[in-house]
Amino acid sequence: MKKNNPISRLELANITKQYPGCLANDNISITLMPGEIHALLGENGAGKSTLVKTIYGIVAPDKGDIIWDGKEVSIKSPSVARDLGIGMVFQHFSLFETMTVSQNIELCLSKIQLNKIGDLAKRITQLSEEYGLNVDPNRYVHSLSIGERQRVEIMRCLVQSVKLLILDEPTSVLTPQEVSGLFNVLRTLSKEGCSILFISHKLHEVTEVCHKATILRGGKVVDTCIPSEETPATIAKMMVGDLADQDAGYSKKEGTITVFNVTDLSLPSKQPFGTELKNINFDLKAGEILGIAGVAGNGQDELMAIISGEDERNVKNAFTLGKLKIGHLHAGERRQLGMAYVPEERLGRGAVPDMSLTENTLLTHSTGFVKNGLVQWQSIKEYTSELISKYKVKCHGEFSEAQSLSGGNLQKFIMGREIGQHPKVLICAHPTWGVDVGAALAIHQALLELRDQGAAILLISEDIDELFLLADRMAAVCDGYLSPLIKTEETNIDQIGQWMAGTFINTAVQEAQA
C-alpha cells in the first residue's frame, strides 16, 4: 500500500467503554493512516490499555465503531484482529519460555498461513536479516534476554505480515542501545506502509520517532499534536494538565559515612531461570541515594531478595550494617536494626492484597504498636489515616483492602509506611513503575526528604531517567555482575547504557583474575 493512499488504515469513532465505577474510554476517536507511527500518551488509568485491547479484540466496547481500511468491522477476538492484519506486542510478553522461538511463532499462525509460509524457520531467518532483528528460530525463549524476547514478539507479527502493529510500552525494558535498534525497525516498517500505534511514558522517545500523538486523560482525548513540533515538556503539560512542574532537577548530595556494606557477595540462583550473583561489592553511605540501573532479569530481584532477607541463605560476612555483620539474620531482625524495603511487587510482597491498610501498616511496624503483647488498634488506625492524608493516597479509608487501591496509590502508601519507620537504610525497587506523573513526583520528594534526613537509600530501577534524576551515585547490573560505582555528575546516559549491556564485565573479570 502506498503512503499517499487516502483511505485510513484504522479509524476509531466514539469508542466508549464503561467498567464498574470507572469510565475507561469516553467517546474516543482516532484516525491512523498507513505508515503512520502514532503515539498514544497519557498517565496511568487514562484509558490507553483499554483502548488498544479494544482494537485487538480482547475488550468489547460498549459503543462506537471501528473502521478498518474503509470498512466497518467488529473485532470479537484476537484471532479476528490478527486475520485483519493487526499485531500486538504486549507489555508483559506473551511468550512460552519452555518452547523455541519457532514454536512460539508457529502457535500464532493458522494452518493456512503456515502452509503459505512453508519452512517457518527459514522465513524467520530471512525476516530477521531483512529487518535486523537478529532472532535465532531454534533457541529456547527462556535463554533469551528481554530485548531479544521483544524482537521475537515483533517477529511474530511480521511473519503474519501485519498492517498495524500495536506496541504497549515497548521501551520500558530495553537498554538505550536496544531502544535505538527498535526504532530503526519501526521506521523501516513505517516506510513499508505498516501503521504503528505506540504507547509510551517516555516523551523524548515519542518526539524522536512518532509522526502524530493523541493524548488521553481520564478516558477522553484531550489533545493531539505532531510530536516533532513539540518538546517533552510541552507534551507532559498536555498529559498531566495543570500540575506539571516536573523535571525540577534535584540537587545532588554526597554521602557521609558508610552505613551498609556488601562484600564479595556471590550466590547461585534458586530459580530455574534466575540470575547468579557474581562477586558483588558496594558501600552505601548515609545521606545519599545509590542508584542501580539494569535491564530486568539481570540479578536485581536476586540482589533485593538476599539483602532484604527474603532469600534465607546465610551470607553472614557479606553484609555489614554499621559495624554489625547481618548476613545471617532473618528479615524481621534486619528490619529491627533499621532496614526497610519497598519491593517491586506491590501486591503480595509489599502488601497483603486482602488485608486492610491498617493491617498492612502493622505488618512492618510490629514493635511500635504492640503493648503487653496486645495490638493497639486505635493508635495504628490513627497512624494509618495520617499516612493516607500525608501521601495523598486515594482510597475509601484506612479500612480499605490493599487490593482495592490502584498501583500508584498503593505504592505511595507503601513508601509512606516504610519511610515512617525512619529507617537507616531503605532499599527500594522500581518505586515509580507504573505510577502516574503526579504520584511519581510525590514519591520522588519523599525519597529526597528521607535522604536529607540522613538515611542511606539504595534505589534499584529500570527507569534510567529516574535514576539520573534522583541518584547521587550510580552503578549498573548485568548478568549478575555489578559495575563500578560512579558519581551521577561524572557519568552520562551512554556510559550507564553500556554498563547495562555489560561492557564492564570483561575488565572486572580480568582484574579479579590478576
Partner: protein, 310 residues
C-alpha cells in the same frame, strides 16, 4: 532364578502396571493443560463398577469398557465444570471427587460384590509372540494391554510432534499468553480433563474386567494416588510414564515373587512396597526443587478465568 521365572515376573509386571499406565497417561495430559485432578481414585472406582455392571448385564466386554470410559468422562466433567467454570479450588474439588466416587461406587455395586464374569482372554500376536522371551513378555496379553501400548505411542507422538501438543503445552505454561494469541484455554482444559477421566475409567474397567474379573468395594487400592506420583516421577514426559508404570507394577508383585522364592517375610510388609516406593520417589524428586519447578507445567493448579481479563 531361571529365565522362565524372570519372563513370568516381567509379564506380570506389565499386567499390573497397565492400570497405572492408563490413569497416569490421562493425568499427565490433564496436568499438562495446567489442571491438577486429584479425583483419579474416584473416577477409576466409578469406571470399575460401571464397567463391571455393563459387561455383566449385557454380556459384552467391549460395551463394559465403553461404559467405563463414559463414566470416567462424566465424573471428570463434574470436576471440570466446578474448577474451570465456577473456579473452585482444584485440590479440594479433586479430593471431594475421590470421596464421592468411592462412596457412590460402593453403593452402586453393593449387590454385585463377589459376582464374577469371564474376563478378556489373552491374544497372542502371531509372529511377534514367537520371539524368544520378549514375545512372551510383551505380546501375549489381552487386548487392553495392547490398547495401552497404542495409547502411549499415540500420546508420545501427539504431545511431542503435533500442533495439538504445542497448544496443550502453551495452555499449561501460560494460559494468559495462550488466551492473548487466540487459543481457547478453557476448551483445551475441558477436553484434557475429560480425556483424563476417560483414561481413568478405562483403568477402572481394566481392574474389574481383566485384572480380577469381579467387583469389590475399593478394589483400586490407591492406584489413583500412585498414578499421581508416577506423573511427577516421569517429570511430565509421556514416554517415561510407561517405564514408571511397569516399575511400580514390578514393585506391586514383588511380594508374590519373594514368597515364590521361599523368603519368609510377612506378606503384609511386602504388600506395602508400591506405596513405600511412591513415598520414596516423591521424597527424592521433591528434594530437587530446582528440577521440579523446571519440568512442571507452570500454571499447574492455578485457575484461569478469561472473563477476568480486563
Amino acid at each position: 532364578m531361571d529365565a522362565d521365572l524372570i519372563v513370568q515376573i516381567l509379564f506380570a509386571a506389565i499386567k499390573t502396571g497397565t492400570p497405572l499406565l492408563f490413569i497416569a497417561l490421562g493425568e499427565v495430559i490433564c496436568e499438562k493443560s495446567g489442571v491438577l485432578n486429584l479425583g483419579q481414585e474416584g473416577m477409576m472406582l466409578m469406571g470399575a463398577v460401571v464397567g463391571f455392571l455393563a459387561a455383566y448385564g449385557s454380556g459384552n466386554m467391549g460395551f463394559g469398557i465403553l461404559a467405563a470410559m463414559a463414566m470416567g468422562s462424566i465424573m471428570s466433567l463434574i470436576f471440570a465444570v466446578l474448577v474451570l467454570h465456577i473456579g473452585a479450588n482444584q485440590v479440594a474439588t479433586g479430593l471431594a471427587l475421590t470421596i464421592f466416587g468411592t462412596g457412590l461406587s460402593a453403593f452402586i455395586g453393593a449387590d454385585f460384590v463377589g459376582q464374577t464374569i469371564q474376563g478378556f482372554q489373552p491374544i497372542a500376536i502371531p509372529l511377534l509372540s514367537d520371539i524368544p522371551y520378549v514375545g512372551r513378555i510383551l505380546f501375549s496379553h489381552d487386548i487392553l494391554v495392547y490398547f495401552s501400548f497404542f495409547m502411549t505411542a499415540l500420546l508420545v507422538y501427539v504431545v511431542n510432534k503435533t500442533r495439538i501438543g504445542l497448544t496443550l503445552k502453551a495452555v499449561g505454561e501460560n494460559p494468559h499468553a495462550a488466551n492473548a494469541i487466540g487459543i481457547k484455554v478453557l476448551r483445551v482444559r475441558y477436553l484434557s480433563v475429560m480425556f483424563g477421566g476417560a483414561m481413568a475409567g478405562t483403568a477402572g474397567a481394566y481392574m474389574s474386567l481383566v485384572y480380577t474379573p469381579m467387583w469389590v468395594e475399593g478394589m483400586t487400592a490407591g492406584r489413583g494416588w500412585i498414578a499421581l506420583a508416577l506423573v511427577v516421577f516421569a517429570s511430565w514426559r509421556v514416554g517415561r510414564i510407561m517405564l514408571g508404570a511397569y516399575l511400580f507394577g514390578l514393585a506391586s508383585i514383588m511380594h508374590l515373587v519373594l514368597q515364590g522364592l521361599g523368603w519368609s517375610i510377612s506378606p503384609n510388609l511386602l504388600a506395602m512396597l508400591p506405596y513405600v516406593a511412591t513415598v520414596l520417589v516423591m521424597v527424592i524428586i521433591g528434594a530437587d526443587h530446582f528440577k521440579e519447578k523446571l519440568l512442571a507445567p507452570r500454571s499447574l493448579g492455578k485457575p484461569f478465568n478469561p472473563r477476568n481479563m480486563a
